[in-house]
């Protein structure tokens, strides 16, 4: 029994899209002209995306093989020397560890927290549903870099609101962002708060794919809310769990704006994610080490690539699961 959405999907896919036409004389020249237009339509994307996305991805590899200080001086080819130095740098490994730890703090909270909230917000019995959705989504649209600065003040150990709260509960002065034990967890919680709304929308979209008549039928058969959840909602959402988890993991790689403005990687490198490590060597050092930073960027790209492969795999698996449902 295929789900209606899937039927709709395949219908649109096999429907009006390009059809191979039989080639008659005259047809061919028309097709050639058509193809010229097609390439013309692709040109703006080809130029911009080629220059600013594809070329940099490839060029990073070349830059990682040269010794290169600053944007004007000579480049000398040094082979894999930069990689050797990156691998030997304990702070690079620390930044990899921080990036992964950050992901481990943020992703589960977002995926499962948003799941629970989406189930509640999806219930027609709950009052103020659209208000809640707006409130939880609000931080998503705000500028991360500005939120990062504001958070420095919110968590200020002397006169921020959290300090005032701690005083009310009789705790001593706490400096959540200023101590290397708590800084990463605090940053993680802020990140969850900031982008929780995105994961929430993902789950709500997933919930909307469940056909209402399934629930109707089960209700007529006498199933209560618990059993509806257990036998319909959960199984229908499992395929989405994969995809939403991967999308959320990808989101965790975009923490540069928040970290740079909130902690700048400190204290003692405890919140230095890979992007900040790259930034520090390329732009914030007194003598920029662009070859070295590029080698770190390439390694970062490899980690990202692994996640992309994971995403493709997750998409394939969840499609297969949905078509079996």
């Amino acid at each position: 029994m295929a789900s209606p959405t899937l039927i709709a999907e395949t219908a649109t896919r096999s429907g009006s899209a390009a059809r191979k036409t039989a080639k008659r004389p005259g047809q061919r020249s028309r097709e050639r002209r058509r193809n010229l237009w097609i390439y013309a339509f692709l040109l703006p994307t080809f130029i911009l995306y080629g220059l600013y996305t594809l070329y940099p991805m490839v060029a990073s590899y070349w830059y990682s093989l040269v010794e290169w200080n600053g944007f004007s001086s000579q480049q000398t080819f040094v082979g894999v020397e930069n990689y050797r130095r990156v691998f030997a740098d304990p702070l690079f490994w620390s930044s990899v560890r921080v990036t992964l730890l950050f992901m481990l703090i943020v992703a589960p909270l977002r995926v499962f927290g948003a799941f629970a909230l989406a189930i509640l917000l999806n219930s027609p019995k709950l009052p103020l549903r659209s208000f809640f959705r707006t409130a939880y989504f609000l931080p998503v649209v705000t500028t991360t870099a500005i939120v990062g600065v504001v958070m420095r003040f919110i968590f200020d150990p002397a006169s921020g609101p959290t300090a005032a709260l701690a005083q009310i509960f009789g705790l001593g002065p706490i400096d959540l962002l200023g101590s290397s034990e708590t800084a990463l967890i605090t940053a993680g919680v802020v990140y969850v708060w900031k982008f929780f709304g995105i994961t929430l929308i993902y789950w709500l979209a997933a919930l909307q794919t469940i056909p209402a008549d399934l629930y109707e039928a089960a209700r007529i058969d006498g199933a209560g809310p618990v059993r509806l959840f257990r036998y319909i909602t959960l199984p229908m959402l499992i395929p989405f769990l994969l995809i939403i988890t991967v999308l959320t993991i990808e989101d965790c790689f975009h923490a540069f704006d928040l970290m740079q403005t909130m902690t700048a990687g400190g204290p003692f490198f405890s919140t230095e994610i890979i992007e900040i490590y790259i930034y520090r060597w390329a732009f914030a050092a007194s003598i920029p080490q662009l070859g070295f930073a590029s080698a770190a960027a390439v390694l970062f790209g490899v980690i990202v690539l692994l996640v992309v492969i994971l995403q493709v795999w997750a998409t394939v698996v969840s499609r297969r699961m949905r078509s079996r449902a």
Binding site: S16, A17, A18, I38, Y52, T53, T134, L138, T143, A293
Partner: protein
């Protein structure tokens, strides 16, 4: 008869009490969610309140959110001395220009990829999907080097091109999916009427794709308005090019004790994007939900 009536009565009575109990739990839940929602928006409430206080009031600490007297001069300080008048104008220019470029290029690319098969179409789609997600930190060094060689590094134009050249694959795919779903009769009819490739697109397809254009436009606007990494690097040597996200950090760096000014600058920077969100909420949500549906 009476027996049946009695039997029927008992369950209904029990059901009403159960219903009352259940409704009670819904209200408890709502109260909890309200408390959580307050925590969620608290940082913004605090920011607005701090922007209208004096420094002394803030450093006195406490959780009071109501200022003693509204200090509007915090705003004029952020606007003039903090140069947020310049930063905001830069942000508007960069965001509008980038959004226009991205919408146009994604509509064109999405149209041909969604509707036609041509030599290389599969390869193009494969490359696009492979780069669905590229962190700025990975490409930033070559982007800066390239912009320098093109003489675009210290200019708003260079910033706009770099932002518009970011992958934006999701936007192309949203367009492609939408155009793919359009009925073939539209095209056939326009060809019969003698319209060529370009006219079919501009007069038939593009007007019909307005909902997608709204979604892509608004999401691009959001991402560009909030961009930080590229504007930061592009305005290193020229502070006059800063956008609000970069300016905020500079402002705090220069006036580390001016909390009210900082908060006012934050309100100035966030107000436009939050207003846009409030009025266009549907498109934000649709655009983000699209990632799961595809």
């Amino acid at each position: 008869m009476s027996v049946i009536a009695k039997e029927r009565k008992a369950p209904t009575a029990r059901r009403t009490t159960r219903r009352v109990g259940r409704r009670f739990w819904w209200w408890v839940l709502t109260a909890l969610l309200l408390a959580l929602a307050f925590v969620w928006v608290f940082p913004f409430i605090w920011m607005v309140s701090a922007s209208l206080k004096t420094s002394g009031e803030i450093f006195g600490g406490g959780l009071g959110l109501i200022p003693e007297a509204l200090q509007w001069e915090n705003y004029s300080r952020a606007w003039i001395d903090g140069r947020f008048n310049v930063y905001l104008l830069n942000t508007v220019i960069v965001t509008v220009a980038t959004t226009v470029i991205v919408v146009v290029r994604c509509a064109l690319a999405g149209y041909v990829l969604g509707r036609y098969r041509f030599p290389g179409s599969r390869l193009v789609i494969a490359i696009l999907v492979a780069t669905l997600f590229v962190p700025t930190g990975y490409t930033i060094i070559p982007v800066v080097k390239l912009s320098m060689e093109l003489g675009l590094l210290d200019s708003l134009a260079g910033m706009i091109l770099a932002l518009a050249g970011a992958a934006n694959v999701a936007s192309i795919l949203i367009y492609a999916g939408y155009f793919r779903g359009m009925p073939a009769e539209l095209e056939e009819a326009s060809i019969v009427d003698g319209a060529g490739f370009v006219r079919t697109f501009t007069q038939i397809m593009l007007p019909l794709s307005m909902p997608v254009t709204a979604t892509v436009g608004i999401l691009t606007f959001l991402f560009t308005w909030n961009a930080f990494f590229l504007p930061l690097v592009f305005s290193f040597s020229n502070p006059a090019l800063r956008t609000v996200s970069v300016g905020m950090q500079a402002f705090v760096g220069e006036n580390s004790t001016d909390w009210p000014g900082m908060a006012a600058a934050g309100v100035i920077s966030l107000l436009p994007i939050v207003a846009l969100f409030v009025f266009m909420q549907r498109y934000f949500v649709e655009g983000i939900a699209g990632a799961v549906k595809s």
